[in-house]
């Protein structure tokens, strides 16, 4: 048996367990909500023992790696790195395990809100892997849910008939490709779900992920060997390349529909030059650090074509998007990125971040996803809902988002908005968040965890929502 085959078995085992547990508390009279968390919003569990093809135990012991504070502080995020075949380098299996609940608790608001109103379950996916591959597990999970519910309630309606997929951020990419596959396979989509609602999904990329290929992720760098080490780990993830801004081949024909004047990635020094991150020309490819994978870039570029692909009208009518402009500036503009021409082959994080965006100058977006990126061009305008003042990290459980979601589920005529948030979650500054992580690093793991969980809400959220920036 090969390593990825074993990973596949473990993942199906996890989905089976999850579906069984869900069926045990399922209420046939209620609709169902399946949550697809954002990238980094799914828990990743790591096996205690390495893969051994000659010894496949009937049960596997797993501990939480992402996002268990003691293990993060211990520098264990280095174990997330993949080899070229997208296997864990040390062959200790890592499998997703539902949404994060131990540190990041940004989805429990959804469970609370729908208590006694809907059956709610989350589907964890491996955000390091490509959505084009992860989407197959959505199909498997829904089949398992049907099987397990039918075992308990043989005469109940198929849960998929009243099922809403609620996808936050990167989860929306997985969901869109799941819908594509249903269409491609000739399935009747209404047999699989009633509606898909995405919240702050970067269909055409993020403005926050690009810099990770140069300078890692600030808070994680502190505990994972520094910015260069984290940048190298990030470069091994095939799945997160689709968080780069979409290629010109995809965005070009969509500019007017998305409300853009021009391709939104510009050369830093000469703003007249488009800089498509997926171009193979020396001037572009040469800007990347050596560890950035051309194969992963090409895969992500091809995946973008599938993400952007129009759905048949009757399917597109079932797709809804919630997007947010959290920018408080009065003078608003299209969010753009600028990319400095750097010598990627000889680059180190000490040289600084060559990626800039105009968020501070009024660029519209939720802090992670530009406004122009958070709705598919092919989705009817009437199905796109706007929020104002809601940041990316906690958007899925924000009262405004849940109001829209519940309205759609209840067949209410929900206004498109903009829905102005009376209050967003409070956030401490990024500097304060970094300061706290430095302090935590110095404490023994148990004390660090206790201290972390005792943090005031604004500091806590500044750290956990910050970790889910690509989310």
């Amino acid at each position: 048996m090969r390593y990825l085959e074993r990973i596949d078995e473990l993942r199906r085992a996890e989905l089976f367990k999850r579906a069984s547990e869900f069926a045990a508390i399922y209420k046939p009279e209620l609709p169902t909500v399946v949550i697809l968390p954002g990238g980094m919003g799914s828990r990743l569990q790591r096996a205690f023992a390495p893969f051994d093809p000659d010894n496949l135990p009937p049960a596997v012991d797993l501990y939480e790696l992402w996002a268990s504070l003691p293990h993060i502080l211990d520098g264990q995020l280095r174990f997330l790195a993949h080899n070229e075949a997208t296997e864990e380098r040390d062959h200790y299996p890592i499998v997703p395990y539902g949404e994060l609940t131990s540190i990041v608790k940004s989805y429990d608001g959804i469970f609370d809100y729908f208590e006694d109103k809907a059956n709610v379950v989350s589907l964890g996916y491996d955000w390091r892997r490509a959505p084009a591959k992860e989407c197959g597990y959505v199909t498997r999970f829904l089949e398992l849910i049907v099987e397990q519910v039918k075992l308990r309630y043989p005469h109940a309606q198929d849960p998929r008939k009243r099922l809403t997929l609620y996808a936050h951020s990167q989860g929306g990419l997985v969901a869109k490709l799941f819908v594509n596959e249903l269409v491609d396979a000739g399935e009747e989509v209404s047999n699989w779900f009633e509606r898909l609602v995405t919240c702050c999904t970067p269909f055409y990329g993020t403005n926050s992920h690009f810099s990770r290929y140069y300078t890692g992720e600030p808070l994680i760098n502190i505990v994972t060997g520094g910015a260069d080490a984290v940048a190298k780990i990030v470069a091994t993830f095939q799945g997160t390349y689709c968080l780069l801004p979409a290629p010109r081949s995809v965005l070009g024909p969509r500019l007017a529909k998305l409300g853009l004047q021009r391709y939104p990635v510009r050369d830093y020094d000469d703003r007249g030059i488009d800089c498509d991150p997926f171009d193979g020309f020396a001037d572009i490819a040469g800007r990347y650090r050596a560890e950035v994978s051309r194969a992963h870039l090409v895969f992500a570029r091809d995946q973008y074509a599938q993400l952007d692909r129009d759905l048949p009208p009757e399917v597109a009518a079932r797709v809804f998007h919630i997007r947010s402009d959290a920018n408080r500036k009065q003078d608003k503009r299209d969010l753009e990125l600028r990319w400095k021409r750097v010598d990627g082959a000889n680059y180190s994080a000490a040289k600084g971040n060559p990626i800039y965006d105009n968020m501070k100058k009024g660029g519209r977006g939720d802090g992670t996803v530009p406004l122009w990126s958070a709705a598919l061009a092919g989705t009817p305008d009437a199905n796109v809902f706007d929020l104002v003042g809601v940041e990316h990290g906690g958007a899925a459980e924000h009262a405004c988002s849940l109001y829209i979601l519940a309205g759609l589920m209840n067949g209410r005529d929900v206004p498109r908005g903009p829905h102005v948030a009376e209050a967003d979650f409070e956030y401490a500054s990024r500097t304060r968040a970094a300061e706290i992580v430095m302090q935590l690093k110095e404490l023994p793991p148990a004390a660090a965890k206790a201290r972390f969980e005792a943090l005031p809400e604004d500091e806590y959220r500044a750290i956990v929502d910050g970790w889910r920036l690509s989310a």
Partner: protein, 172 residues
């Protein structure tokens, strides 16, 4: 009064201890992995016809390289054939939701869940994905002798839209 004081003292001593013990714990799970391996499909020979207008190279899989297979150049209009055989399985006690995996071969690789991937190079690395879930992949196993069945896939362009050489609707 005395018991209230005792209670407060106990609470002062016990609560931090309990909190520390809880903090030291991390989410730990035992995951049962109950796998049933089921039928094997007939062997298929998938023939790719290069209709891209430019040469491409078919890349050997990891196990192919290990067993001496190499990359193969295919000129425009040329053909390349690769063997593909599948196994069905289920995971979970009593579950009948099927999974499909690719048996080890020189060019096709398993791309979980339920797809085969074959890698190419045409200036840059490319992939094609083949959807394996349709039950018709397994029909010939019970209907005929296990002789290879040829499936023809014209390749006009590389796309991540999965191919459906068996089963409805849109074959390549």
């Amino acid at each position: 009064m005395a018991s209230a004081t005792l209670y407060r003292r106990l609470r002062r001593m016990l609560l931090p201890a309990v909190a520390l013990a809880a903090a030291a714990c991390t989410s730990y799970v035992v995951l049962p992995v109950d796998v049933n391996y089921e039928k094997v499909s007939a062997p298929y020979v998938v023939t790719f016809i290069n209709q891209t207008g430019a040469p491409f190279e078919v890349r050997a899989s990891e196990s192919g390289r290990r067993t001496g297979y190499g990359n193969v150049a295919v000129a425009p209009g040329g053909k390349f054939s690769a063997i593909l055989q599948l196994r069905q399985f289920t995971v979970g006690a009593g579950s009948s939701v099927p999974g499909v995996r690719v048996l080890e071969g020189p060019y096709f690789e398993h791309s979980p869940p339920d797809k085969a991937e074959i890698r190419f190079a045409q200036g840059e690395p490319r992939s094609l994905l083949v959807a394996l879930r349709h039950p018709s992949w397994f029909e010939p196993y019970t209907q005929s002798a296990a002789e290879p069945i040829e499936l023809v896939v014209p390749v006009k362009a590389f796309s991540l839209m999965p191919l459906f050489p068996r089963g409805p609707p849109g074959g390549p």
